[in-house]
Symmetry: C2
C-alpha cells in the first residue's frame, strides 16, 4: 500500500475516532449482526469502513487514527483496515460489548488525550457514504478553527427531500459563511414537519460527524453524565474496558451534544448519505437504462426502477416495478420500494423466531479465517474451513463429535494428540472424539479444508479450548 | 402397498397408456428438463405422475397400465410408480429420445395390441390435476361404449374462464347426454375468441385424454402418417425403439386426431387443470386468510393474493400483491401474477446462456440414488451422494481426478482396484486417479457419503464405465 501523508495542517493537533461497532440489520439479508453494514462491500471494491479509512487517511497520519469496534467484529475490522494501511493494525480498540457511541468515543479519547489541553478529536461513523473528499477536508479544517475556539462542531447536510428517518439540526444565527450556531435537534420528524424544514431551509440533516476539543468534551461528560465520568476517572486504576459492562449505554447525541449550548454546525460541502435502507442503496446505485440497480447473478426482464441484488443463486425477475429484491445464499428479501422500512419488522420477526439468519451468514468470519456450513444432516455437518496464511486455530477438543478433515487447497499443519504432520491437497486425517487437535496454515496462500463432523451433538459450543493465539481459551 | 383391483368392467378390454415423457419448464425454477412437472410434488405427498397412476390403478389392472417416458427420466419414473404399486415396475417403456406424443402412444400400443381387434386404449397425460376420480371413471366407461362403436373419444372440459393458453374442442351435434360429435379443434384462441367460446358454450377445453379402439387408431396412422406407419410395420424385424431416432416428432392431436372425422367428445364430469403455469398453481392452492398460497420456508408480511414457495433458504416477502415468488436452492423467480407466461422467456434466456439452471437442480437424480454438488472450487468439487438401499454405482475410473469418500450415514461397500471393504459412518477412503472403483449400498437404509474430488478437470464426462447394472457402460 502507498503511504498516505497527512494533507491537512489541522490534523497535526487532531485525532480521528472512527466508530465501527454498529450492528444494524437495516440492510438485511446482506447485513447481519456479525457482518454489519460498515463491513460490507455495497458497490465498488471497498467496504464502507474501508472507504471511511481511506478518506480519513487522506487527512490524518495513521498514528492519529483510532478505530473503535466491539470484540465480535475485532478481527474482521482489523483485517479490513490493515488492508488499507499496515500502520493501522495497532490502532483498533475493541469494546467487550456494545454501549452505544458515547463510551466508544471516550475509549478513543483515552488513547491520545494525555496532558494535551489543545488536542482536537474528530468523530466519524464508518457506515455512511461520503462523496467529494476535498470538500470534506475543507469542512474539517473549518471545524478545527471553530473547535480551537471551544465550539463543539457538528456537520449538517442541506436536505434534498423531506426525509423522516434522519435527525435534524435546527440552525441558529450565522457565525460565518456556511457556519451557524445550533438552536436544537429534532429526531425523525413527521412528514409535514420534514416538509416544512425543507421549505424553510431552517434545518440540516445531522451527519453524525463531530469535531471538538477533547478536553471541552470531557468537561461536558463530567457535567452531563456523572456515571460515565466516574468510569472515566477510574481509568488510572484499571483499563476503561474493564468497567465497560457496568456503564450505561448512551449515544453521544443524547448524552452530550443535545445537552450543551456552544454548538456550531458546518454546512457540509460534501455529498452524504447514511445508507440507512435499501431505498438509499437504490437511490445511490448506478442505474441501467430502465432505472434498475443490478448487482450479481440477476436476470431482469421488463423491470423498472428496481434494486435487484443477488449474492447467492440466480435471481430471475420479470415485470417488477419499484421493487427491492436482495438474495443471499440462505435468504431472499422481496418488498416494494415504498415498504423499505419494513425490513426492520422482518428482522424483528426472525429474531423472535430465534433465527440464525439475523445473526450471521452461512460463511462466518473468524480471527483465523472463516467457515461455511455446506450441509447439515441429522448426525453430520459439513463445513468448508478457510485458514488465512500464517493463522492457527485454537488447540481444542470436542466431547460429542469426531471430525474428518480433507485438504482441498493449500497446506495444513495438523496436530492430533501431540502428533504433528503436514498435509497437502487431497490428504485427510481422522480426529476421534475427545482427541486434542489443532489446525494451522503454515503456507503463503489460503488453506481450504473440508470438515465432516459426525456425532449426536454438533453445535459450536461443544468445544474445549486449551490454547488460542486469539485469547479465546475457555474460562 | 395395497393391491388395487380394477373396478371398471370396461377395463377388461382396455389398456391405459400414461404419457410421462414431457420435459416442460413452465414451472421453472421448480421444474427442470431433468425433473419436469409430472415428477414434482406440487402440494400433497404424491407427484403428479403418482397421482395419475393412483387414479388409473383405481380402474385398471397393473398389468394393463403402460407408462411411456424417455430414458432421461426412466429411473425416476420407475422409482415413483413402483412406490405406488410394485407390479408397475416392468410396465415402463423408455423412448431413447423425445418424439412427441404420437410415437409414444404407438410405443404403448405395441405392448398390448397383439391380434386383438377389439382392444381399447386410453391415453392419459401424467402432468395434469384431476379431481373427482369417481366421475372420471364414469366418463371412461361412457367413452369405452363409444369407442366400441368405433368412435375416437376425447374428453372436453366446460370452460370456466376465457383461457387463451388451452386447446379447444368445437362441439358438433349431440350424441347422448354430455356427448357430442366434434366439429373441429381450435388451438390457443385470442381473448375475444375465447370469450365468445365461453359465452356461447360451443367449445370445451381439450383435456389431452383420449380413448379409442387401438386398431381403428392405427388405421388412421396408416392413412395420415405414412412415415410412422412404415416404422410401425418394421417392428416385426426390430424393436420400435431402434428406429426412434429417424422418425418425425409429432403430436397425437396434430398427427391423427385433427385429421379424422368420427370423433366424439365426452363432457368431463371431473375437475381438471393442466397446471400449465404458476397462476394455475396459485389458483388451485390452499389460500390463507390473505389469499396467499404459501409453501416452505416463507415469512410473509402484509402480502395478498400471492404465491410464495421456497424449497431453499428463507423467503421474506413484505407487502407483495398478486405476485409469484418461487425459490429453490440455486434460483429464484419473481414476477407479477399477470406476467406468469413470461416464465417461458426466462427459461429461453437461460437456455441461450447455456445455463445449467434449465437442465437440472443441484440435486441430480440417478438410477442408484442422487447426488448434490455442495460446493465447487477451482480444483475441487464437493458432493453429497445418496445411494438407495441395495443400489450399486457403475464400476468406473477417472483420468483427471482423485476422489475421497467419507461415509456420513449408512453402510457402504467400496471396491478399489479389486479390493473390497465395508465402511460405516465416519470412515473414509482415498481413490487415486485412474483407480478402478465402485460404490454400493448393501444396507436397508439410504447411504450418504461425501465425495471430495480434486484435480484439474472435474466434469461429469471424465468417467470410464467398466460395468453398470443400469446398462450405462461406455460404448
Amino acid at each position: 500500500m502507498p503511504e498516505f501523508k497527512p494533507r491537512a495542517k489541522f490534523a497535526e493537533e487532531c485525532h480521528a475516532i472512527i466508530l465501527a461497532g454498529g450492528s444494524g440489520t437495516r440492510l438485511w439479508p446482506l447485513s447481519r449482526n456479525l457482518l454489519p453494514k460498515q463491513l460490507l462491500v455495497l458497490g465498488g471494491e471497498l467496504t464502507l469502513l474501508q472507504q471511511t479509512v481511506k478518506r480519513v487517511l487522506a487527512a490524518f497520519d495513521p498514528s492519529r487514527i483510532w478505530v473503535v469496534t466491539n470484540e465480535e467484529h475485532l478481527f474482521e475490522v482489523r483485517k479490513q483496515i490493515s488492508a488499507m494501511h499496515s500502520g493501522l493494525d495497532g490502532q483498533v480498540l475493541a469494546e467487550p460489548l456494545s454501549r452505544n457511541t458515547l463510551p466508544a468515543i471516550m475509549l478513543g479519547l483515552d488513547r491520545f488525550i494525555g496532558g494535551n489541553d489543545k488536542v482536537l478529536a474528530a468523530v466519524f461513523p464508518s457506515d455512511h457514504l461520503i462523496g467529494n473528499g476535498e470538500a470534506w477536508i475543507e469542512d474539517l479544517v473549518k471545524a478545527s478553527h471553530l473547535a480551537a475556539r471551544q465550539r463543539f462542531v457538528t456537520f449538517g447536510v442541506e436536505p434534498s427531500k423531506p426525509e423522516t428517518g434522519y435527525g435534524y439540526i435546527t440552525l441558529g444565527k450565522p457565525l460565518d459563511t456556511g457556519v451557524f450556531e445550533v438552536d436544537g435537534f429534532v429526531e425523525k420528524p413527521d412528514l409535514a414537519t420534514a416538509e416544512g424544514f425543507l421549505r424553510h431551509g431552517s434545518h440540516y440533516w445531522n451527519s453524525g460527524m463531530f469535531l471538538f476539543r477533547a478536553k471541552d468534551f470531557l468537561k461536558q461528560v463530567a457535567k452531563c453524565q456523572p456515571e460515565l465520568w466516574d468510569w472515566w476517572m477510574a481509568r488510572e486504576e484499571r483499563p476503561l474496558v474493564q468497567g465497560y459492562r457496568d456503564i450505561p449505554g448512551i449515544s453521544v447525541d443524547y448524552g452530550v451534544v443535545e445537552k450543551i449550548d456552544n454548538i456550531a454546525v458546518v454546512r457540509a460541502g460534501f455529498a452524504w448519505d447514511d445508507l440507512g435502507s435499501w431505498e438509499a442503496m437504490y437511490r445511490l446505485g448506478v442505474k441501467d437504462e430502465n432505472g434498475n440497480v443490478i448487482q450479481g447473478d440477476v436476470l431482469a426482464m421488463d423491470c423498472r426502477n428496481s434494486l435487484l441484488i443477488s449474492q447467492g443463486g440466480k435471481l430471475a425477475a420479470v415485470g417488477l416495478e419499484d421493487m427491492i429484491m436482495v438474495q443471499t445464499r440462505d435468504a431472499t428479501l422481496s418488498c416494494p420500494m415504498k415498504r423499505v422500512q419494513s425490513v426492520r419488522s422482518v428482522v424483528d420477526a426472525l429474531k423472535a423466531q430465534g433465527s440464525q439468519l439475523v445473526e450471521s451468514h452461512p460463511t462466518v468470519v473468524r480471527p483465523w479465517g472463516s467457515y461455511c456450513v455446506l450441509e447439515e444432516g441429522p448426525h453430520y455437518k459439513i463445513k468448508r474451513i478457510q485458514v488465512n496464511p500464517g493463522a492457527r486455530l485454537s488447540s481444542q477438543m470436542h466431547h460429542h463429535r469426531s471430525e474428518h478433515w480433507v485438504v482441498v487447497d493449500g497446506t495444513a499443519e495438523v496436530e492430533v494428540d501431540g502428533h504433528a504432520r503436514v498435509m497437502v491437497e487431497n490428504q485427510s486425517v481422522d480426529i476421534s472424539k475427545a482427541s486434542q487437535h489443532r489446525l494451522a496454515n503454515p503456507g503463503k496462500v489460503p488453506l481450504n479444508i473440508i470438515e465432516i463432523q459426525s456425532g449426536p451433538y454438533l453445535e459450536e459450543d461443544d468445544i474445549v479450548r486449551f490454547e488460542d493465539v486469539y485469547g479465546r481459551v475457555n474460562k
